[in-house]
């Protein structure tokens, strides 16, 4: 099975080689993408919808979403970086650029102070724009007789993202029935945990591969030389790799801060350095949330209950007459793994070669940026229509499913359901009947 997958992947490579350049191009077009899962997805212009087959109309939106842009949870990124540079400055070890970087870090530090993990204004905007676009894109879905149920994990930024979206919905449709909920009771299908999979995530083989990948993709000397005027001070006092990563993370965070457009940190890195840092982050996310075969290739299955819930809900609304929507706001990595387990576009990639991710088009910012989402839209002609079609939007764009269809990007619900349920059963059989075999 594994060999087959590797084979498929190799064949796929040939086709997706064209994509190889595109990460570089995409980073050039918007360097903020280098922030990966911390890229604040601009909702932007409404994507074009492929017209559905004749007579089919949307009746159900089944959605899982990331929180909007937020301040980093770990204030160490701000504090420690600020402290490191301040100390060097007090000893006269900073270059002119180093001093200016310190000034910029101070601005970031002040902006983020006492806001750890908080939804930013950008995030609030994103959430409202997402809902606005959804309503404008599928206006018939939002009627007074519809039912709109919105859920969030019990995490303030997600709850705030949910509430902001609800305000938009409420402002655009009156009267409307909306139910919201943020409960620890629903962790099972909102943000599940799996100790076994988590424990397998970073086994020794994976770690060795990742460390090697990191060392091959690190060159922090130029940056250190540009910031500090004394190489001996750097050698004896600075953890170059750590500081470089911290600066990179902060560079990706300027887009969320209230001081965006006034400063940038990207320009202290060369485009190659940015690309390198991104590759390391991307590989890390792939190992943790994707189908990386180094650690078994099953990490994305951590979100199997989420997928199962999605299928379950899709199945239970088939007979519903009025439009229905479920929005669920959870963590970015849930969305990432969900996209991987659903094999949307290139997300289902299985490989042990961390160097090849880019070539296969597996890029974290395309999958689960902040403000990102996966929405399955269900279509039918009328409530008695048994041939329900679905279309999946990954971050608003029509996505490709790993399933045959005569009307892609629309897929027959029964095929979709069968494919995913079989996939889940295969995994669960393998895992829970392991001893029998």
């Amino acid at each position: 099975m594994k060999k087959l997958l590797v084979f498929i992947v190799t064949v796929a490579t040939a086709f997706s080689c064209i994509k190889a350049q595109s990460v570089v191009k995409e980073l050039q077009a918007d360097v903020n993408r280098a922030a990966g899962m911390f890229y604040a997805l601009p909702i932007g212009k409404m994507p074009k919808d492929t017209p559905p087959p004749a007579g089919k109309k949307p009746f159900y939106i089944n959605h899982y979403g990331c929180p909007g842009s937020y301040y980093l949870d770990k204030k160490e990124y701000y504090d420690e970086t600020f402290a490191t540079l301040t100390k060097a400055d007090s000893l006269g070890k900073l270059t002119k650029l180093g001093k200016d970087v310190l000034r910029r870090i101070q601005l970031l530090y002040q902006d983020a102070h006492n806001r750890e993990g908080e939804l930013t204004q950008v995030g609030a905007r994103q959430s409202r724009d997402m809902v606005k676009q959804l309503i404008e894109r599928y206006p018939d879905m939002f009627t007074t007789d519809g039912y709109y149920s919105v859920r969030s994990i019990v995490e303030n930024r997600s709850i705030m993202t949910m509430q902001e979206g609800l305000l938009q919905l409420s402002a655009m449709r009156q009267p409307i029935v909306i139910r919201s909920k943020a409960s620890m009771q629903e962790l099972k299908f909102m943000d599940p945990t799996d100790d076994l999979l988590t424990s397998q995530r970073l086994d020794s083989v994976t770690r060795i591969h990742y460390n090697r990948f990191v060392s091959l993709n690190s060159s922090d000397n130029r940056l250190m030389q540009s910031l500090f005027n004394d190489p001996y001070y750097v050698v004896s006092n600075i953890d170059a790799a750590k500081l470089s990563l911290q600066l990179f993370i902060l560079a990706g965070n300027v887009q969320h801060a209230n001081i965006d457009k006034k400063i940038t940190l990207w320009n202290i890195f060369t485009p190659e350095e940015i690309h390198q840092h991104w590759r390391k982050q991307n590989a890390w996310h792939y190992i943790n949330y994707g189908g990386c075969t180094l650690n078994g290739g099953y990490q994305a299955y951590l979100q199997r209950t989420v997928l199962r819930n999605m299928i379950h809900m899709g199945d239970s609304v088939v007979k519903r007459v009025n439009p229905l929507m479920h929005l669920r706001y959870t963590r970015e990595h849930v969305i990432m793994s969900l996209a991987c387990i659903m094999e949307l576009d290139n997300c289902g990639l299985h490989t042990d070669n961390l160097d090849s991710l880019e070539a296969y088009g597996w890029a974290n910012y395309r999958i689960a940026p902040l403000g990102g989402s996966i929405a399955m839209i269900h279509y039918r002609t009328n409530p008695s229509d048994t041939d329900v079609l679905v279309k999946v939007l990954l971050n608003g764009q029509e996505a490709r499913l790993p399933i045959k269809s005569d009307c892609a990007p629309y897929y027959h619900w029964n095929d979709v359901k069968r494919y995913y349920l079989r996939k889940l059963y295969r995994y669960e059989n393998r895992r829970f009947n392991f001893k029998k075999k």
Binding site: R115, I159, M160, Q163, S170, Q174, I176, I178, M184
Partner: protein, 434 residues
């Protein structure tokens, strides 16, 4: 027996000493008879509809700004310890087959309640969301001059999820009533210093020896429930080894009443175990406790309400800057009862600034905490003027959406002159010494 005797004795003494006291005591009982939830103080439920009429503003004056601090709506109990207390006692008794048939039934209800609440500790209930929606909608309906299309509404919440959801529920419904409102929401650690300030110094020292002595004396005649013990346990004398009668009765009563806060009032059967007098006595004990904790109780120096000095200063500062604007809109703040109650006491809304060392006074003089801070309880300052140049700004205070009094003189009650009120607050705050 001894306790009973003391209880009767004190009751006789009370009724004998002053007649008016009994009259007022009666009315709390009446309230509890009508709404058992009233007995559970901070778990009391916000009214479904507001019947009180609002007095029209003096000629020419129009509302132009609303400043608000509100408590989150009905929630599940914050943590399980309150439920565990009676539950463990019951389980212990059950394991020894000490439960009567009624006791076994009680156990079943407790199981169902625990099951329903599991994983929801502190969560806003559907009922709570509805309360917040109603409050938001009525605000828009009552003050369309402030909340008109295009008006700005700034919502701030503490960083506790149920408060954020309460804020969202109110804001969402305000948009249903007026879709063009410009609403912003924020829940940040940055505002915690006034939104949810818990003064450690004050909190640590509220139970002074004098207060403890008075509290013990007050509660001695009011705790305990031997009738309940007889009802639930086969041999009350035997189970007393591990069932503390006072705790058991108190927490079981709370558990029953709490269910009134859940959607569809799930399983309220436990309330039937208690008669009005049981509920009333628990209310008395709780009311006194809340007073010592947050009221201007002379037994501990009377400074507890000052825990909310930063909030009051912020409300004044916000108003100062908003008054300069032509169309300031509304500022809504969403927080907790442990902030709302001391704030009400600090300002002296409806006489809640009552300062006394006699705990029996509270009930007689109307210091009833349930009326101040039920779930979704709120304090609204409505500002009036004839035009942006009008220097004589008036305010009206709504406590739980009913017109309230302030401890200052006025020539146009229930309206007060903002300048007078502002000065009164600043003087009071200036007088506070840590």
């Amino acid at each position: 027996m001894n306790i009973k005797l003391r209880y009767i004795l004190s009751a006789v003494l009370l009724t004998g000493s002053c007649q008016w006291l009994t009259v007022s005591a009666q009315s709390v009982i009446d309230l509890i008879k009508k709404h058992p939830a009233y007995a559970s103080c901070n778990y009391d439920i916000y009214p479904d509809s507001i019947t009180a009429k609002l007095t029209p503003a003096p000629a020419g004056k129009k509302p132009f700004y609303i400043s608000h601090y509100g408590r989150h709506g009905s929630r599940y109990i914050s943590n399980r310890s309150g439920y565990d207390t009676p539950y463990y006692m019951m389980q212990h008794a059950d394991s020894l087959e000490e439960l009567t048939p009624t006791g076994e039934q009680v156990m079943r209800h407790m199981n169902s309640i625990m099951h329903d609440t599991e994983g929801r500790w502190g969560e806003l209930t559907g009922y709570g969301k509805k309360q917040m929606q109603d409050i938001g909608r009525r605000m828009v309906q009552n003050f369309p001059e402030v909340l008109h299309p295009g008006a700005h509404v700034t919502c701030i919440s503490t960083i506790v999820p149920r408060c954020i959801e309460s804020m969202g529920s109110a804001a969402m419904e305000m948009l249903q009533a007026c879709p063009q409102l410009k609403i912003t929401m924020q829940a940040s650690k940055r505002t915690q210093w006034y939104m949810n300030y818990q003064d450690r110094q004050l909190r640590r020292n509220y139970m002074t020896p004098e207060a403890q002595k008075a509290f013990d004396a007050y509660t001695a005649t009011r705790m305990g429930n031997s009738r309940l013990m007889e009802l639930v346990f086969k041999n009350p004398d035997i189970v007393k080894e591990f069932v503390n009668e006072e705790d058991f009765s108190y927490y079981l009563m709370k558990m029953g009443l709490f269910q009134l806060n859940t959607n569809y009032n799930r399983n309220t059967n436990l309330i039937g175990l208690f008669n009005t007098n049981d509920l009333y006595r628990m209310w008395q004990v709780d009311n006194v406790y809340w007073y010592i904790q947050h009221g201007a109780c002379k037994l501990n120096g009377g400074n507890q309400p000052y825990s909310q000095r930063y909030l009051l200063k912020q409300i004044i500062a916000d108003a100062d800057s908003c008054l300069k604007l032509a169309d300031p809109g509304a500022q809504l703040r969403f927080g907790h009862e442990t902030v709302l109650l001391p704030l009400i006491c600090l300002i002296g809304v409806n006489g809640y600034d009552l300062a006394t060392d006699n705990l029996d006074d509270l009930e007689a003089r109307g210091w009833w905490c349930s009326s101040a801070f039920p779930m979704a309880g709120n304090l609204q300052f409505i500002f009036y003027r004839s035009n942006p140049k009008d220097k004589d700004v008036l305010i009206k205070v709504l406590l739980n959406e009913e017109e309230a009094t302030l401890p200052i003189a006025t020539d146009c009650a229930p309206y007060y002159h903002w300048a007078d009120f502002r000065q009164y607050c600043l003087n009071k705050l200036a007088g506070y010494k840590k």
